[in-house]
């Protein structure tokens, strides 16, 4: 059973392949993402993060927010400073919250006793175990130069797959070495990791590193990645092909 809902302006898809998947399970996941959006959206003046940026004292922050800030600090450290949520005195942890929330949503389904499912938020996916017939879940990598095309199919079980890039809404990405020019280094970076929380935070940081990002990931144990430059040339980590369908 598969359901999709638009939350926070992003498509949220849940597929559960266990027998007797209840509609309430899907609803629980969608409700969870709505709550996350209420707390962390910098576009909502009522959100906790907006209130924090408007001067809410630390003593009044929720425990969860404090935990998120800790995780952001840790990620900044883990990525040599490339992951930073602070800019001009404003905090925006959404780059970390997305993967974290997908992970929590997946855990929520596990708590309800489900075993075979995936949770996908705008192309960042956590899969649990396998698809029907003990087959791995098949995740396509979208062509960043032509979003109607799939350029790779990954076979994954109980892992996270995240892609950072510019394809969907056409952000302007700037070259870290030349502020004046838009970056021409990478347009898409897909990371396969032990879970979506880690795959997503490292994909975000490694993308900001440009062509150095794939080497950063190559050194990271338990991660594989596929980086695509504007000319359509892909560079992959040494273990990446073991996930690719032949």
């Amino acid at each position: 059973m598969k359901q999709t809902r638009d939350i926070m302006g992003m498509p949220v898809t849940v597929e559960i392949n266990d027998a007797h998947a209840k509609p309430a399970a899907f609803q629980a996941v969608f409700d969870y993402f709505s709550r996350v959006d209420q707390r962390y959206s910098t576009y909502k003046p009522s959100s906790e993060i907006s209130q924090i940026n408007a001067g809410l004292p630390r003593a009044k922050w929720s425990q969860e927010m404090k935990q998120i800030m800790k995780l952001c600090q840790q990620t900044k450290h883990d990525t040599n400073g490339y992951f930073d949520i602070e800019h001009n005195g404003q905090l925006d942890p959404s780059g970390l919250v997305k993967g974290w929330a997908i992970q929590n949503a997946a855990d929520l389904l596990a708590d309800k006793g489900y075993k075979h499912y995936y949770v996908d938020v705008a192309g960042d996916v956590q899969v649990s175990r396998s698809n029907t017939g003990n087959k791995p879940w098949r995740i396509g990598i979208r062509n960043p130069l032509n979003r109607d095309e799939i350029i790779k199919v990954l076979n994954v079980r109980s892992q996270g797959v995240a892609t950072s890039g510019t394809a969907i809404r056409g952000n302007h990405i700037y070259n870290p070495l030349s502020r004046a020019e838009p970056a021409k280094e990478l347009i898409s970076l897909t990371v396969i990791g032990p879970d979506i929380y880690n795959a997503d935070r490292f994909a975000t940081a490694a993308f900001a590193m440009g062509t150095r990002g794939i080497h950063f990931l190559e050194k990271l144990k338990g991660y594989e990645a596929y980086a695509i430059d504007p000319a359509g040339i892909a560079t992959m980590t040494t273990g990446f092909e073991s996930y690719v369908t032949s």
Binding site: M10, T42, Y82, D84, D92, S94, I151, V161, S164, T204
Partner: protein
Amino acid sequence: MNTSTMKKLGLSAFVILTFVAYSLTQRQDSKNTAVVAPTTTTQGTSPSSSSTPSSGTTYKDGSYTGTAADAYYGYIQVKAIISGGKLTDVIFLQYPNDRENSVSINQQAMPYLKQEAIQAQSAHVNTISGASDTSQAFVQSLTSALNQAA
């Protein structure tokens, strides 16, 4: 290896070589002072082939710690000791060779990773992973990287 990386490595090497060459020339000027510099950084460059700073240059005595400079797989940071108005010692506080992964990088400029031209496939998939980064955090993290690289 991309051009920016080459430039960076080249620049780092140039800075070190200049520094070491300069240190060595200073040693020739004042023979009773010691110069400490890793031999690996000289890379066969003899001091005589480098330009020497004007002999009139003098410095204030003391020790000065430079900023840590990113040399791609590690940082380089030196402390300069000035005695009698001259550079008498260069101590490497940080050097990429003290890191295990830097050793391999230094031996082989960049690890070899397989490349290919992307190609459309027609295949059934359960779902699709694609770029959708719109968060401000991403832009902010990139901005922070810009500030560090500047």
